[in-house]
């Protein structure tokens, strides 16, 4: 088990490095709109476009060979220097640290709520298959997974902010920063959390129900009941545990995907100055350093998530050995 854990951790490091490299290469291939602008200006004023391009590259530190810049980049990264954002005139690390709390403010509650409720409702539904409660839960799940969260956000904003006036229309970043744990902040975060949780809860619930159904009628569950195990024990020990194995796969991959991509839309719709909007803005304005920086955060989250999932896999299902098979 120790060796397995060490190997998985080492592998997580390799993955992170691989992804950094791919991202670096992809961005290296990207056309630089600022370079084109510099060249156009130089050509328009009668100067050599080539000389201007050279000067531009030197100024931005883009004149060395590719691998040299790559190594330098990795070294900077390791030392905490994540580059300089041109469009925001501040270090990338600083821009990310400013944006990150806004994203966490609504993603953390949404993930906690949706995971707990999702698994609970999914298990309940599986145990009470084809009852009214099951149909109600299924309906909620279908609604949550089917409603496009950006459209849902717009509709809710129109209803609750414009017509009813219960929540503010515009997100007050100043309020969120200074009084994070205040009622006023909770009020303006209620809609984003609700929108994100409805989409995340639904997929968790559906998968939990589908996976649990496989075990509800299994022989070992019948045996447990026959031996006098309480319903609660059957539920937690005999159904939840094997259900969690495939579910852990889905929770990490699916939930992470939902939350990361949804954060872009939710932040655009509600005007939250979080990581998603920062990243989107960076891509639009081709701020290479900032794009790379804003991708590192979700990538690190995903790498660690996958690592935890692999370890959970080995712990939860004794049939899956953690050594080499055969």
């Amino acid at each position: 088990m120790k060796r397995y854990t060490a190997r998985r951790i080492a592998w997580a490091g390799v993955v992170a490095l691989l992804i950094l490299t791919i991202t670096f290469v992809l961005l290296e291939l990207a056309p630089d709109s600022q370079l084109a602008r510099v060249q156009f200006r130089a050509a328009a004023s009668g100067e050599s476009a080539e000389a201007a391009a050279d000067a531009y590259a030197r100024r931005r530190g883009l004149d060395g060979p590719l691998w040299e810049r790559y190594l330098e980049y990795l070294a900077n990264l390791a030392s905490g220097d994540w580059g300089w954002s041109d469009t925001r005139s501040q270090p990338v690390a600083e821009a990310i640290l400013t944006a990150l709390p806004y994203s966490l403010m609504y993603t953390v509650p949404a993930v906690l709520v949706s995971t707990t409720l999702g698994i609970a409702i999914g298990l309940y539904s599986a145990f009470n298959q084809y009852t009214k409660a099951d149909y109600a839960a299924t309906f909620v799940a279908f609604f949550g997974v089917s409603i496009p969260n950006f459209w849902f956000g717009i509709v809710l904003l129109l209803l609750f902010a414009v017509y009813l006036g219960w929540v503010p229309v515009l997100f007050d970043a100043e309020l969120a920063r200074t009084r994070t744990f205040s009622l006023a902040n909770a009020r303006q975060l209620a809609l984003p959390v609700f929108v994100l949780a409805t989409s995340a809860i639904a997929s968790t619930m559906r998968y939990a129900r589908a996976e649990a159904l496989e075990y509800v009628r299994a022989a070992f569950v019948k045996t447990a009941r026959a031996k006098g195990a309480h319903e609660w024990r059957v539920l937690t020990r005999h159904v939840l545990r094997p259900t969690l194995v495939p579910l852990s796969t889905i929770l990490v991959g699916d939930l992470l995907g939902v939350v990361l991509s949804a954060s872009y839309l939710v932040e655009v719709v509600f005007g939250i100055p979080g990581l998603g909007r920062l990243s989107l803005e960076a891509i639009r304005r081709q701020d290479t350093a900032l794009v790379l920086g804003t991708t590192l955060v979700p990538v690190f989250v995903a790498v660690i998530g996958n690592l935890l999932q692999d370890l959970a896999y080995a712990v939860l299902d004794p049939r899956i050995e953690y050594g080499d098979r055969r």
Partner: protein, 436 residues
């Protein structure tokens, strides 16, 4: 005595099971209760019946299905070659009668794009993968009976078929929505809006309110495009994204997942480590990058979704296949001398197919939603009138012209909902392990 008995012994590798479903249907079919309840049962197969088609297939002979598939592939290749060589850069491709089911569109103007070619290929593959169902009527009837119990799913199926027909045939017949500033902000028919909202009211103005007309049944956008036409064009985009990319994904996922689980060792390790890497890069982010590099054309979007979106499905297939691998019927098949490929194809894949179908039907709405989301934030294909783009366009007019964002939003919602209902019902109908 049950006449299905012959199918139940999976170890009797290729003779008794002519397709994936047969061995799965037996569990519920052999309950005498169901049979007696339905005396007019058309199932007339007997224990001694031999499925000669299946045997012919096993020995590499030419069956009718194979012949049809061969002809279809040939025609497809010919048509593709015609488009590439003869039509070339010519924007309009007029079809000859050689293309089987597109004959009606022959005289119409239709520039066949790369996406359209992929779409036709997808439909062909989907059609031929349904061939076993058409051949085995008893099995089809059985599945249909199980499926029919879910009324919402049956309704969803009809809705999706309608969307599909409108999106494929409708877009060939109906012209692209055109700009018409004079017809801006018309409300949907039967509804009315304050007369100050549209610049000119196409319909009658009653008591200071502009009424919708049948000219624009679902109203118009801020630049006068009819929302009904926009919605129909949106159907095509959504269907193409969902179906093509999902077919690519499940093909790769099934191959990778079963290979990894069945082979084990370093192959498993290598494949799953690759999935790790791919999974850590969320599809959405990857698309942002590639859209930024190559421009967000629909073709690129579909390829990216298809080629990068199979990691999760492959993991599900693998974890399911790992469990199947330990089953007795796999041992039995192997002892009877079946090759690994044959065991995977005949015993492992059919028995994880419920997971594959569930994953695929969840994948389609996810892709439809992703495409809409990307179009919404302006990173999709700007040349195509997709639902997401229309929702984004109407976002600024919500206070006055609420229908612009609402109409495509409702279509998007209904389509995704229908796919979800369908997927759930299919899972219940296809899973032989649970009897309802």
């Amino acid at each position: 005595m049950s006449d299905d008995g012959v199918d139940r012994f999976d170890g009797d590798d290729s003779r008794g099971t002519d397709d994936s479903g047969r061995e799965r249907s037996s569990e519920s079919d052999d309950s005498g209760r169901e049979r007696s309840a339905d005396p007019d049962d058309p199932r007339r197969e007997r224990f001694e019946d031999v499925d000669w088609d299946a045997i012919g297939e096993d020995t590499g002979g030419v069956t009718r299905t194979r012949l049809a598939a061969g002809v279809a592939v040939g025609l497809y290749a010919l048509a593709l070659a015609y488009d590439l060589v003869v039509a070339g850069a010519d924007p309009t491709v007029a079809f000859d009668a050689g293309v089987p089911w597109r004959a009606a569109g022959a005289s119409l103007v239709w520039d066949v794009t790369a996406v359209d070619w992929l779409f036709v290929a997808t439909l062909l593959v989907a059609g031929f993968s349904l061939a076993p169902l058409a051949r085995n009527r008893r099995l089809t009837a059985h599945y249909w009976r199980r499926f029919r119990r879910h009324t919402p799913a049956v309704l969803s199926l009809w809705y999706l078929l309608a969307i599909f027909a409108l999106g494929t045939v409708g877009t060939v017949v109906i012209d692209q929505p055109s700009l018409d500033v004079a017809a801006a902000y018309q409300p949907p028919v039967f509804l009315s809006v304050d007369a100050s909202v549209p610049t000119e009211c196409v319909g009658p103005v009653v008591e200071g309110r502009c009424r919708g007309t049948w000219t624009y049944p679902l109203g118009t956008t801020g630049n006068g495009r009819g929302l009904l036409t926009l919605a129909i064009y949106g159907m095509r985009v959504s269907m193409q994204v969902g179906l093509i990319a999902t077919l690519i994904s499940i093909t790769i996922a099934t191959a990778v997942g079963t290979t990894a689980a069945y082979t084990g060792g370093w192959v498993d390790e290598a494949l799953m480590r690759y999935v790790d890497v791919q999974q850590t890069f969320p599809t959405f982010f990857l698309f942002l990058f590639l859209a930024y590099l190559f421009g967000g054309s629909l073709f690129v979007l579909i390829l990216i979704f298809g080629v990068t979106g199979w990691g999760g499905i492959a993991r599900i297939v693998r974890s399911e296949a790992l469990q199947r691998r330990e089953e007795g019927y796999v041992d039995a098949a192997r002892i009877s001398g079946a090759s690994s490929l044959s065991v995977i194809r005949r015993h492992v894949v059919p028995n994880v197919s419920n997971s594959i179908v569930t994953a695929a039907t969840l994948n389609i709405p996810f892709l439809v939603l992703s495409e809409a989301a990307l179009s919404f934030i302006g990173l999709g294909d700007v040349t195509l009138p997709s639902w997401g783009q229309t929702i984004a366009a109407g976002r600024g007019d919500l206070g006055t012209a609420w229908w612009i964002s609402t109409v495509p939003g409702l279509f998007l919602f209904a389509t995704i909902l229908a796919f979800n209902f369908l997927g759930d019902a299919l899972r219940d109908a296809l899973d032989p392990r649970q009897e309802v």
